[in-house]
């Protein structure tokens, strides 16, 4: 269903451009598509949508709790809402609204939380969600997705129009490394096996997918065969794939731009111990707060690098 690009480089299209373009095409064919924003239209890249569909573009002001409730209410009368804010304000700030008005009420709401983890860069620690997925993961029936590149983001945003439930999409806004060929289709709830390997599996998400592929190359140079999985759906977790990787490679490294507490590493570990127990090392935020800096600075500061994945892989292989 998906095809990998031959080389992995910065994608020419920004993630937010892919988001807006997809929303425009969805809205053209479906009158029920509505977009909500909390005074961040310039940031979410949705200006064109707000100009093209002024009635169906709903400005909520800086009031995220209300925005989530309005989205729930819109879905009550058949609308298909996509509500955006920066990650922390689209998750931890509105946790109860997502829980009660959307999820418990069994309504139909898509939430776009942008600037995951270190991609919040200059906005600093207040705006840097290392916990958004973890905070939301304990909400029953919610689906948590971190699209890897603009091709996947477009496909996911398109698919969500026809699905029912509460979906949180952790969206980088700017350039990401392109991984997938245009036209690729993704199955929500299933991880993508990007590279085969036998000694260890690297299960990554978001900006860490490209680092994982780089790490696999580095490991290959040292004679270690690393498998790479893009686990873009965090909930529901692809337990079957985790079990297969544990079985076939005997060791797992997780890599995420998120707190390892309540994050991808924790979710993979749960899946692993319930199926085929194997040693796991986790690359990610080690229960720390965010801070200000360039994305490159922050990646180094928090060890979100291919080198860190390589180190973790060697360590976990020794634990076999």
């Amino acid at each position: 269903m998906f095809k990998l690009l031959k080389t992995f480089q910065k994608s020419p299209k920004l993630m937010r451009e892919a988001y807006c373009d997809t929303m425009l095409s969805l809205a053209a064919s479906n009158k029920n598509i509505v977009a909500l924003d909390a005074d961040l239209v310039s940031s979410s890249g949705m200006k064109k949508f707000f100009e093209a569909y002024p009635d169906r573009a709903i400005q909520c002001g800086i009031a995220e709790a209300n925005m989530i409730g309005v989205a729930a209410g819109l879905s009550l009368v058949g609308k298909i809402p996509y509500a955006h804010s920066f990650g922390p304000f689209a998750s931890r700030r509105v946790c109860d609204q997502i829980f009660i008005s959307a999820a418990y009420a069994k309504l139909n709401v898509r939430i776009i939380g942008s600037d995951p983890g270190v991609t919040a860069a200059y906005n600093g620690g207040t705006h840097m969600p290392f916990e958004d997925m973890g905070v939301l993961r304990s909400i029953p029936e919610i689906t948590l997705i971190e699209p890897t590149d603009p091709v996947m983001l477009s496909d996911i945003v398109r698919q969500l129009a026809d699905l029912y439930g509460v979906y949180y999409v952790r969206m980088a806004r700017k350039n990401t490394i392109g991984i997938y060929e245009e036209g690729s289709i993704f199955e929500i709830g299933k991880g993508n096996l990007l590279r085969n390997g036998t000694d260890v599996t690297i299960i990554a998400s978001g900006i860490m997918v490209a680092e994982a592929l780089k790490a696999a190359e580095m490991l290959a140079d040292e004679g270690v065969s690393a498998r790479v999985v893009d686990m873009f759906t965090w909930k529901p977790m692809d337990i079957e794939l985790v079990a297969r990787c544990a079985e076939e490679t005997g060791a797992i490294v997780t890599a995420e731009n998120h707190n390892i507490f309540g994050g991808l590493g924790a979710a993979v570990a749960e899946a692993c111990v319930k199926t085929v127990p194997a040693p796991i090392e986790m690359v990610g935020i080690k229960d720390q707060f965010g801070q200000v800096g360039t994305e490159d600075y922050l990646r180094k500061a928090y060890n979100l690098t291919a080198a860190a994945i390589v180190d973790a892989a060697k360590k976990v292989i020794e634990r076999k």
Partner: protein, 285 residues
């Protein structure tokens, strides 16, 4: 469908709702008596005259919606829905029972006729705004009704919703604020003073009316005026008594959630039966 009860019939309907709500509470021996009693006349007006609904098709898409944001008033709404045939009266025995369909707080997935899940206070206004806006986008002429508690208005989200409704000119949203002056821990003036409620909503750009929330005629007139004005969301401030019409709850400080004895609820039922007979016997005006 749309019922078209006259004032006298609405007064009778209100007593029927009160009576059935008390009988429902009698099954449990405890409950949110205060806040259920204070909105009964409003429910009578909504379901007896103003609202469009179909008990045989609770999800009818052209219906009016009601969001009871003070979700703890559920028992009064359940009694109303049972009287209208949304479900059999015998189901009222399920109030607060494990596995039942009538929880303390309104749940749209459990109870036929409940439009929105509420109970985490402050959230209903946002959902009501969304429903009102969505209907306007579809060119529907139906209304969204919302019932807020005065204690509930402590929640900041209420005022986020109030700003939103005014900004988006949601004149198809009709909000009742149950200004009964009490919240769980005591009188609102001692907890978080909300007595100038009307001024607050007016300051947020709403069309505000203040009525005696136990006077059917005043509520009807206010809804008529609300439907006539264009461009602003509507707030009808209901001056009410928490526990109204239930002698052991009315005028008591701790009447938000209370336990009571069988003889107390039986006496309240007896008094309400008398009130119902009196309403039936009263001249039609």
């Amino acid at each position: 469908m749309n019922r078209t009860l006259k004032l006298k019939e609405l007064r009778v309907f209100a007593e029927e709702i009160r009576l059935l709500t008390l009988k429902e509470f009698a099954y449990t021996g405890f409950g949110h008596v205060g806040g259920a009693m204070s909105i009964i006349e409003t429910l009578a007006v909504l379901y007896g005259k103003e609202m469009r609904f179909d008990p045989n098709n609770p999800d009818w898409e052209d219906r009016d919606h009601l969001v009871v944001s003070k979700g703890h008033s559920g028992p009064a709404v359940y009694a109303t829905l049972a009287l209208l045939g949304f479900f059999p009266e015998s189901m009222l025995r399920e109030l607060n029972q494990g596995g039942g369909n009538l929880p303390s707080h309104c749940d749209r997935n459990k109870t036929p006729g409940i439009d929105m899940t509420t109970g985490s206070l402050g959230q209903g206004i946002s959902a009501a705004c969304g429903a009102a806006l969505g209907k306007r986008l579809d060119g529907k002429d139906s209304y969204t009704y919302l019932i807020l508690g005065d204690g509930e208005c402590n929640e900041g989200q209420v005022w986020e919703g109030a700003m939103f409704a005014a900004q988006h000119k949601l004149d198809n949203l009709i909000t009742f604020v149950d200004l009964n002056g009490q919240q769980l821990d005591g009188f609102t003036e001692d907890i978080m003073d909300m007595r100038n409620m009307g001024e607050r909503f007016a300051a947020f750009g709403w069309f505000v009316q203040e009525v005696n929330g136990h006077d059917i005629g005043e509520i009807v007139s206010a809804v008529t005026a609300a439907k006539a004005q264009k461009g602003k969301p509507n707030a009808i401030i209901l001056h009410t008594k928490k526990g109204n019409g239930c002698y052991f709850a009315e005028g008591i400080k701790d009447n938000h959630h209370m336990n009571f004895k069988p003889e107390q609820i039986n006496e309240a039922i007896r008094q309400t039966e008398a009130a119902l007979e009196a309403a039936k016997a009263a001249p039609a005006k």
